[in-house]
C-alpha cells in the first residue's frame, strides 16, 4: 500500500535509529499519547531500537481503555434488552464490565453486532424498524465527526429507532491532566496524528508553552514514530518547546474545519470520567440538547449504575505514564487479554495488552531469557481444524 509500505522500511528505520542515537546525550521520557502509536511501537519492537536514554511511556490514548466502567455496564444493560440491537466497534466487545462483557451478553441472547462504521448502524436501524439500534459511540476526536454524522443523518432521515451511548473523550484535557499531576515523568509528547487530522494542533500550542514541553504531532507507521521520536529528542536536547508536526501529510495546523463544524453541530464539551484516571473537566463530548432524543442513556434510563473497579488494577497509573504495565502485580497473572482485569489489558492498543501481547512479559530486550515461562506450558496444542 502506498503511503504505508515506505514507512515500514528497514533502511529508513535504521537511519532514524542511528540519528536518534547520535543526538541523545541524556535520559528523556517521552509519552506517545495515542494507543495506535503504542500498538506500532510494540508490534514493531521500536522501543528496542531506541538508545537506553530514551524511555517511552504509553498514554491514555485508547478509547476502549478509558471508557469508564459504569458506561460499559450501561452498555451491557442496554444490550440485554429484548428489542435492542446493540452495535459496537469490535474491540469494545471484550471490555469487562463489573460482571460481564458484551460478548457474554451476546452469548446470553443479546443481539450484539460488530460494525465497521457508525453509518452502518443506520442501515441496520432501517432494516429493523421495530427494534432500537443503539450504537456505542466511543472514541477520541478522530471518531467524533463519524459519530456526529450518524446522529445528524438519523435526525435528518428521521430514523427514530436509533440512539447512541456516548463516551467521547478529548486528548488535550487528558494531556493537561497528566502534566499537572505531581508524579508525572513526561518530558515530551508524541501528539496523536489522527486526532490532529481532525482538530489540528492549535490547541496544543498553549499546552506546550504552559507546561514547557515539546509536542511532536506524529503518524502511526514505524518510520513516523521513529521520526517523531527523533524530532522530540532533538527538541528536548535543544531545549525547545512548542509543537512540531511530523505527520504533515495528514495533519494541517487548523485540522479539518468541516469535521469540526459537524462535531459542533451535534456535540458539546462536557466533563468526563476516564477509566482508571477519574473525572477530567471539559474532557469529553455529549449530545447537544437538539439531539438528546438520540441519547441512549436517556432512552433507556440507565442513569445511575454503581460500580467498583478492581482494587488491584493500576491502569490509572499506567495511563498517566507513572507506571509501566509489568509493574502491576496482576499483570500476566490474574490479568491477561483473555481475562482482563483492567481496560488497558483489553484493547490491543491498551498499554497492558500491548506489553503482554508483544512480549514485554520479561522486561528484557532479548527473549532468550524467557525460559522461566517454559516450566508448565499453558498453551494446549490444538488440532486447529
Amino acid at each position: 500500500m502506498k503511503f504505508q509500505a515506505e514507512y515500514r522500511d528497514l533502511v529508513a528505520a535504521k537511519k532514524l535509529q542511528r540519528a536518534i542515537g547520535e543526538i541523545v546525550t541524556q535520559p528523556w521520557t517521552i509519552m506517545e499519547v495515542c494507543g495506535g502509536q503504542t500498538h506500532t511501537i510494540v508490534r514493531y519492537g521500536i522501543d528496542e531500537l531506541l538508545p537506553d536514554e530514551v524511555e517511552l511511556v504509553h498514554g491514555p490514548g485508547c478509547p476502549v481503555c478509558v471508557t469508564p466502567l459504569e458506561l460499559i455496564d450501561k452498555a451491557i444493560e442496554i444490550a440485554s434488552c429484548d428489542d435492542v440491537i446493540f452495535c459496537s466497534f469490535g474491540d469494545m466487545l471484550r471490555v469487562p464490565g463489573s460482571r460481564h462483557d458484551l460478548f457474554e451478553i451476546k452469548a446470553s441472547g443479546g443481539d450484539v453486532r460488530i460494525v465497521y462504521s457508525p453509518l452502518d448502524c443506520l442501515k441496520v436501524a432501517e432494516q429493523n424498524p421495530d427494534r432500537t439500534v443503539v450504537f456505542f459511540a466511543v472514541g477520541f476526536e478522530t471518531t467524533a465527526p463519524a459519530n456526529a454524522m450518524a446522529v445528524w443523518q438519523a435526525k435528518k432521515r428521521r430514523i427514530d429507532n436509533f440512539a447512541v451511548l456516548v463516551s467521547h473523550v478529548l486528548v488535550p484535557p487528558a494531556m493537561e491532566s497528566i502534566l499537572s499531576s505531581p508524579n508525572h515523568r513526561v518530558q515530551g509528547f508524541l501528539g496523536a496524528g489522527h486526532v490532529c487530522s481532525v482538530m489540528g494542533y492549535e490547541d496544543y500550542e498553549p499546552l506546550a508553552t504552559r507546561y514547557q514541553v515539546p509536542i511532536v504531532v506524529t503518524g502511526f507507521e514505524p518510520v513516523d514514530l521513529l521520526e517523531g521520536i527523533y524530532r522530540c529528542v532533538r527538541m528536548l536536547e535543544q531545549g525547545k518547546i512548542g509543537v512540531d508536526n511530523q505527520y504533515a501529510r495528514a495533519v494541517k495546523r487548523e485540522g479539518s474545519r468541516v469535521a469540526q463544524g459537524l462535531i459542533k453541530e451535534v456535540f458539546e464539551v462536557t466533563d468526563r470520567k476516564w477509566r482508571g484516571i477519574g473525572t477530567i473537566p471539559h474532557s469529553g463530548f455529549r449530545l447537544r440538547s437538539e439531539y438528546e432524543r438520540f441519547d441512549a442513556e436517556q432512552r433507556f434510563a440507565v442513569g445511575d449504575v454503581q460500580v467498583r473497579e478492581s482494587s488491584k488494577c493500576i491502569s490509572g497509573m499506567v495511563l498517566q505514564g507513572i507506571h509501566k504495565p509489568h509493574e502491576c502485580p496482576a499483570f500476566g497473572k490474574e490479568c491477561t487479554p483473555e481475562h482482563p482485569l483492567g481496560a488497558t489489558m483489553v484493547s490491543s492498543e491498551g498499554a497492558c495488552a500491548a506489553y503482554y501481547n508483544y512480549g514485554r512479559l520479561l522486561e528484557s530486550h532479548q527473549p532468550s531469557c524467557s525460559s522461566t515461562l517454559a516450566g508448565k506450558p499453558a498453551i494446549v496444542p490444538l488440532p486447529t481444524d
Binding site: V223, H323, H339, A374, P383
Partner: protein
Amino acid sequence: MPPIADFDQMSCPTPRRQHERVLLGHGSGGKLSADLIQRVFLKELGNDVLSSLEDSATLALGSLEPAVDDARSGPRIAFTTDSFVVKPLFFPGGDIGKLAVFGTVNDLAVVGATPLYLSAAFILEEGFEIELLRRIVISMRHACDQAGVTLVTGDTKVVDRGKGDEVFITTTGIGLHAANHALSIRNARPGDQIIVSGTIGDHGMTIMSTREGIEFETALQSDTAPLNDLTRAMLDACPSIRVMRDPTRGGVSSTLNELATASNVGILLDEASIPVRPEVHSACEMLGLDPMYVANEGKLIVVVAEQDCQSLMKVMKQHPLGRDAAVIGNVTADHAGMVVMRTLVGGQRVVTMLAGEQLPRIC
C-alpha cells in the same frame, strides 16, 4: 505505590475466572479454545491418543487378538474429524463442501498419512434449499475426486428452523501411514527451519470480506486445497521432516505457538520473509487484524532439519501448492515455548496465541 512484580515468580496466565457459557472465542482456535479443550474434553476424556492432540489420531489396527494396543501388529491408520460451520456457504474459491473434504484430507496428510476414506454427516436446517445442498454435494464429489478419496458412509439429520444454520457438515477421515514417519508436533529441534507453503491468511480474509457489517470488495480467493499430493511429494523427497501442520483456525501464530509448546522449543520468525498477498495485507490493515492469526485452508507449516531445508524447498516450489513456499524462521533453544518475530524494522516482538476471536480494531 504498588510493589514491583517479582518476575521470578511470574507464572503463566491464570484465567481470572472461567467463562460459564460458551463464547464465540471458544471456537476461535486460540487460547479460549485451548482452555475449553483442556478444561472439559481432555480432563474428562483424555487418553494417550486424544491428548496428543495431533491433527489426526494414529491407530494401530492389528487383528483383534492379540491386543489392539500392540502398535506393531497391523497397519497404522490416521483418523481425524472436523465439523464445518462456515458462512457463507459459497465463497470465492470454494464452498463448505470443498472445505469439508479438503479440511479432513489435510489433517490426514499433515500427519504423513495417505487419505483414503471419508464419512460425511450433514445437519440440515429445516427450510434449507435442496438445490443448494445439491451444489454442495456435487462440490464434495469433485473435491473427493481431486484428493483421491472415497466418501463411504454418511448421515443426515434435520433440525427445526432456527435451531441450525442451513447446513453443517462433519467429515471424518481415515488414512493409511505408508511408513514410520517420525512426524509429530513434539519433534521440532533447535536449528530446524520453518517453512510455510505459501501466502497466509487468504481463506480467513476471503470469509471476512463477506461478513455482515465488515464486508469489503476484493478479488481474494480462499486457498482451500487438498495438500495430500504435496505432502506425499515432500515426504518422498524428505522423510526426515519433523512436523507438518495446516495452520487453519487461529492461523500461523496459533500453530507455531502450539508447536513451540509441544516441542518445548523457541521459534524465531523473520517478518519480512512471511508471504502475504497484498489484498490480505490491505484488508488486515483496514480492520486492524494480523494475518498471522487469520485462517488458511490450503497451507502447510513444515519444520525440517536445516540440512534438508533447501532440497525440501525445491520439491515444494515445484508443486503448484508450494510455489510460494518460504522459509520464515527457525527453531531455537532459547525462549522455549515462545514465538518471537524479528519485525520489518529490525525490532522484536513475541507472537502470542490468539486470545479469543480476532476482532476488527477500529480505534
